[in-house]
Assembly symmetry: C2
Amino acid sequence: MASVFDTFEPAMYNLILKNIARHVELTAEEVADFTSILQIKKYRKRQYLVQAGDPCRYEYFINSGCVRQYHVSEEGQEHVIGFAVEDWWTSDLYGFITGQPSLTNIDALEDTEVVQFERTAYEDILLRIPKLERFFRIILQRSMITQQQRIMENISLSADDRYCKFAERYPQLEQRLPQKQIASYLGITPESLSRIRRQRMESLKKS
Amino acid sequence: MASVFDTFEPAMYNLILKNIARHVELTAEEVADFTSILQIKKYRKRQYLVQAGDPCRYEYFINSGCVRQYHVSEEGQEHVIGFAVEDWWTSDLYGFITGQPSLTNIDALEDTEVVQFERTAYEDILLRIPKLERFFRIILQRSMITQQQRIMENISLSADDRYCKFAERYPQLEQRLPQKQIASYLGITPESLSRIRRQRMESLKKS
DNA sequence: CGTCTATTTGAATGTACTCAAAAGCGGTGG
DNA sequence: CCACCGCTTTTGAGTACATTCAAATAGACG
């Protein structure tokens, strides 16, 4: 499996391998096996990674840049489900798992480089490398906890408390993302978010 | 591993084993190994399975009955995160995974019988039986899809559309649960749900 | 039967929304 | 490099939906 190209892999696959190494330890052979299913791909700002209705062939790991996942309602309104930046995973899980048409869109908010792999390759490699099965179980558990947290906050907090939580949990994202996208993620209108931010500024000035 | 008690196991563990068999096929030895970590436990209506602040030692599979998972805000308000009935899994995932104090409460809405197992036993058996690692990855994936769906509906739908979706997705639960609990799950007040239901009745009469 | 909690209904309040318009910002092409 | 165009953000006014508070009714449980 070793080849002269091995020396080039670490640069491209550095981040994803480190991400995995946080939870499971792969042997050199397993790393070679795993990286053999990976593809590097670049997406321009505003380009789709996945479109609702199409199959979602890939699972994505973000090397650089930023994407959003969102759903378009029957009335044509966009609703942001989540964001992903460097060192995060994303995909339309429903489409990726079932092979059915995707329920959501994913597009690039910035020029973005991803590491992606196909569903069939994913299924095969989980059988070959149980440690990866373990890895994905672990990150799914963590995602579930995060999602639960978000659901709790959605049903229990007011719009400005939700914004506040978001800003303190993801200060980098708060800086980096257009307000319109954050508003959509929080389930409020851009106008409301603008007002909420103004009120926060004013109340900070006082104290 | 075989013993005279084997003949008693299938009745108690019938449901959980069938649940697992939907995704992975265990050998007789693996079944014996797995069932050896299981405990049957009964909880009376209103009894806690897990209390926020305490460690969550167990993962639960519901044999019969019904439980709710909820969070109590600083102001003392209860917010229902989810329900579980026969053939469903539940636990405070955060507490169970990390060993930290639980974030949520789980209590019985009806007299309930569960199959439960401890975290340490869980971790050990995943290493012994990679098929179970696989099983839990798969059900986590499915839960994630469901959670995402719910988040989408929370941020995009009005209160009565949310109620409508809930009623058509879980008609049995809609019948079985107190309205107050459903209202909390939907993120609205019991008064609002009462009004929403009345309006639905009236609009059904017309047509 | 009596108590306690859940549900219903009403009236007043408030939070976030819609619609509309102005100001700000970034990207593109001349 | 600047001017223009389109999109985002801000601000204002009026509206709608859901909430709070309060009280009455209905149901469940001992």
